[in-house]
């Protein structure tokens, strides 16, 4: 194995003997941002761009999350929902008894496939792209939870919405020693593979329902 490594590294070094600049000569990593007109405008842009992806967005005060979750699950007619560890109990308190709440005690992929919906929180929102990033910390569950069920109800705190991509990347820098996996979500699953005609809904959740919490 290391023979191949040694050979490749030797080839690489031999290929660039004409270059003299030291490692890191370009200086700090460039940061090409997009200017925000203000905090309120950034949140408005986030909503506009998430809606543009054909995701549903509802805006609530912190006390209204539970009602909004219950309303969404009812509207989509789901009969079961997986609730990740670390979810605020108030968020699921209003879920009707007709919807079975499942906690993640190591559910198999097949078991997850039998569940209609998932409710998660999120780490960061990005206004210029309408993106929501999960870092799969408490309340977000492991990656499979927000993937296999067909309806994803995602709670986003307005104060977690940043303006642009470089700012989000900076916030999400992996912690040394315990990096988290990240999932960046921009609208529901989609494809443009048939005549470049965009179709929402392939393998990931076909419904993305965003509950934006303002004044948290």
């Amino acid at each position: 194995m290391s023979a191949a490594k040694d050979a490749i590294l030797a080839r690489v070094r031999a290929a660039v003997t004409d270059l003299r600049a030291p490692v890191g000569a370009r200086g700090d990593t460039p940061w090409v941002d997009q200017a925000s007109a203000g905090v309120a405008e950034t949140v408005e842009l986030f909503v506009e761009n998430v809606v543009d992806y054909k995701a549903e967005v509802v805006r609530v005060a912190p006390a209204g999350v539970g009602e909004a979750v219950a309303a969404a699950l009812t509207a989509y007619g789901v009969t079961s929902v997986v609730v990740p560890d670390g979810t605020d109990p108030a968020w699921t308190a209003a879920v009707p008894e007709t919807v079975r709440q499942v906690s993640d005690d190591g559910l198999s992929s097949a078991a997850l496939d039998g569940i209609d919906a998932v409710v998660t929180s999120s780490a960061v929102g990005i206004a210029t792209t309408g993106t929501i990033v999960l870092d799969h910390g408490p309340g977000q569950g492991r990656r499979a939870l927000s993937l296999v069920p067909d309806v994803h109800v995602c709670v986003v705190a307005a104060d977690s919405v940043v303006h642009d991509v470089p700012e989000a990347v900076a916030r999400l820098h992996p912690q040394a020693g315990m990096p988290r996996p990240l999932t960046w979500i921009s609208g529901p699953s989609a494809t443009s593979d048939i005549e470049l005609d965009r179709v929402e809904g392939v393998h990931g959740p076909r419904t993305l329902h965003v509950i934006l919490v303002e004044g948290w």
């Binding site: 194995m1 290391s2 191949a4 490749i8 590294l9 080839r11 690489v12 031999a14 290929a15 660039v16 270059l19 600049a21 490692v23 000569a25 370009r26 990593t29 460039p30 940061w31 090409v32 997009q34 761009n49 992929s109 097949a110 496939d113 990005i126 792209t129 309408g130 993106t131 492991r142 990656r143 499979a144 993937l147 991509v165 470089p166 990347v169 820098h173 992996p174 990096p179 996996p181 990240l182 999932t183 960046w184 979500i185 921009s186 529901p188 699953s189 989609a190 494809t191 443009s192 593979d193 048939i194 005549e195 470049l196 005609d197 179709v199 809904g201 392939v202 393998h203 990931g204 959740p205």
Partner: protein, 492 residues
């Protein structure tokens, strides 16, 4: 000092491909494909233009992207070692492969060690380049492509014709026929009442592949980026098939070209703005997955990364040509290219078609084959590809550079070389030129406004794809002399 890295072996599929003009001629006769391509590239060009215009500092972003790649390429050994250390710290196992055969053997052995007869695959140019699916099949391991377009290509026993949308040459009714005919042979059949509506076709793919996702023990992916600083792998996708593969199986093997490295985490701030807007013409693609080795209790617990050279160090050794390695496989150059739009991707004889293929293939594989020698000429040098490239790869400059290499390698005793030598002899003496020009006037009188008859040999081939302008009734010299003597010029 060590020798320069060897070129890549042409993979079996493309051995003996005809040169581009021949392959393009038959592709041009396929009117269905031309219609499909014109429609699709037109749609995506408009989408890209719209979302690029939203970014005021786009040119600065392009420069930042090019600078990041140049930083990596100039110190690739350092960054590869740093990436390997970070990956290993995160719990991944790193393998190195000098060429396609070595990479395929590593992957086959890893899959066999798991003891499974099938793998699910995320769309990956690197694994297409090394023809991994064929290597797996040869060992009795089924490789299921899960990207919708790759699925269409695989079920249709077809070849990809575009980097991003491999089935761009197929329209909806062709896709419906493929699904109805083939799905049942390898798994869950297409629904009986399947129509050619894209939504229904996408749903058929969802149903067909779900059982494969749920039972797969091994997934194979490529990667769009590998961050050296943190050992993070990034896969950018749309459908969620990538997330399924990267999350559900116990074992994940990622095949990554050595040029995919980015220096720092913060560089993602640049590349995640450039790539989606350039490739699918979206502000952001629906899903991006990032993982840094093994994450306890979440996703695959056996994570392997295979770093492949396969001709890349050969490209790196050319001070002019190496900027082709900045390529992030967005396919903006394909969508904007007038030649690609008409000829389609198959004529390029490689998994890398279009303008980027025309500069990558002759560098990765060398110019020993007819098709690779012809690719630098498969362009009008209009420059649209350079304008569209988010990595600022000066494709026209590289095409000219490679043309010079191809011509130099042929020596002077070729039809073209002799024609050029004759031209030099002609232009070196004013009287010779005058006689020759009179000859062309005579020829013009004979031909009228008809084209000259087909010529044999190299000149005939060149004229076969071009019209020459009508020959003039008089030469410039004849016109000048007819103006009368005594004129000193510069006054009229």
């Amino acid at each position: 000092m060590s020798a320069v890295g060897p070129v890549q072996q042409t993979s079996p599929t493309f051995v003996g491909m005809p040169k581009f003009p021949y392959a393009a001629r038959s592709a041009l006769g396929n009117t269905q494909q031309r219609r499909n391509l014109a429609h699709a590239t037109g749609v995506i060009r408009a989408k890209r233009a719209k979302v690029v215009a939203e970014v005021p500092r786009w040119e600065e972003l392009r420069q930042a992207g090019a600078d990041a790649k140049d930083e990596v390429l100039g110190h690739l050994a350092d960054y590869l070692v740093q990436a390997e250390e970070a990956l290993t710290r995160g719990g991944a196992v790193v393998h190195w492969a000098r060429d396609a055969a070595e990479a395929n053997r590593i992957v086959v052995d890893l899959v066999k060690a798991v003891g499974t007869g099938e793998v699910v695959k995320v769309k990956s140019m690197a694994t297409q380049e090394i023809e991994l699916n064929e290597a797996l099949e040869a060992e009795g391991i089924h490789a299921w492509e899960t990207d919708l377009a790759e699925l269409i290509v695989q079920l249709g026993h077809d070849r990809p014709s575009h980097i991003l949308v491999p089935a761009i040459h197929r329209n909806r009714s062709e896709i419906r026929e493929i699904f109805r005919r083939e799905m049942g042979l390898v798994g869950r059949p297409a629904p009986d009442d399947l129509t050619d509506e894209p939504r229904r076709l996408a749903e058929a793919a969802r149903l067909h592949l779900r059982e494969k996702f749920l039972r797969a023990k091994v997934a194979i992916s490529g990667a769009n980026f590998l961050v050296a600083e943190t050992g993070t792998l990034v896969v950018v996708e749309s459908e969620g098939n990538g997330r399924m593969c990267l999350t559900l199986p116990e074992t994940l093997i990622s095949v990554v070209g050595i040029e995919k490295v980015l220096p720092t985490w913060q560089d993602l701030g640049t590349f995640l703005q450039l790539l989606p807007r350039s490739s699918t013409g979206e502000r952001m693609n629906p899903y991006t997955s990032m993982w840094s080795g093994v994450h306890a209790g979440d996703g695959p617990q056996n994570v392997h990364v295979v770093l492949i050279d396969n001709g890349r160090t050969h490209v790196l050794a050319d001070p002019v040509g190496r900027e082709a390695l900045r390529c992030i496989r967005c396919s903006a150059c394909l969508n904007t290219c007038p030649v690609y739009e008409r000829a389609g991707g198959h004529a390029y004889g490689s998994v890398y078609p279009g303008p980027i293929g025309s500069i990558l293939n002759p560098q990765l594989r060398g110019t020993a084959s007819e098709v690779d020698r012809s690719l630098p000429f498969a362009s009008t040098l209009c420059g649209a590809c350079f304008e569209a490239c988010p990595m600022r790869i000066d494709i026209p400059k590289l095409l000219v550079h490679l043309r010079a290499k191809v011509v130099d390698a042929k020596g002077r005793n070729t039809a073209e070389g002799r024609a050029m030598a004759a031209g030099a002899w002609l232009f070196a003496d004013a009287r010779r030129l005058e006689k020759a020009q009179k000859g062309s006037v005579l020829a013009g009188k004979v031909l009228g406004n008809r084209q000259p008859p087909p010529l044999p040999g190299a000149m005939g081939m060149w004229l076969g794809a071009r019209d020459i302008p009508d020959l003039p009734a008089q030469t410039f010299r004849q016109w000048w002399n007819a103006r009368g003597s005594g004129s000193t010029g510069g006054q009229s």
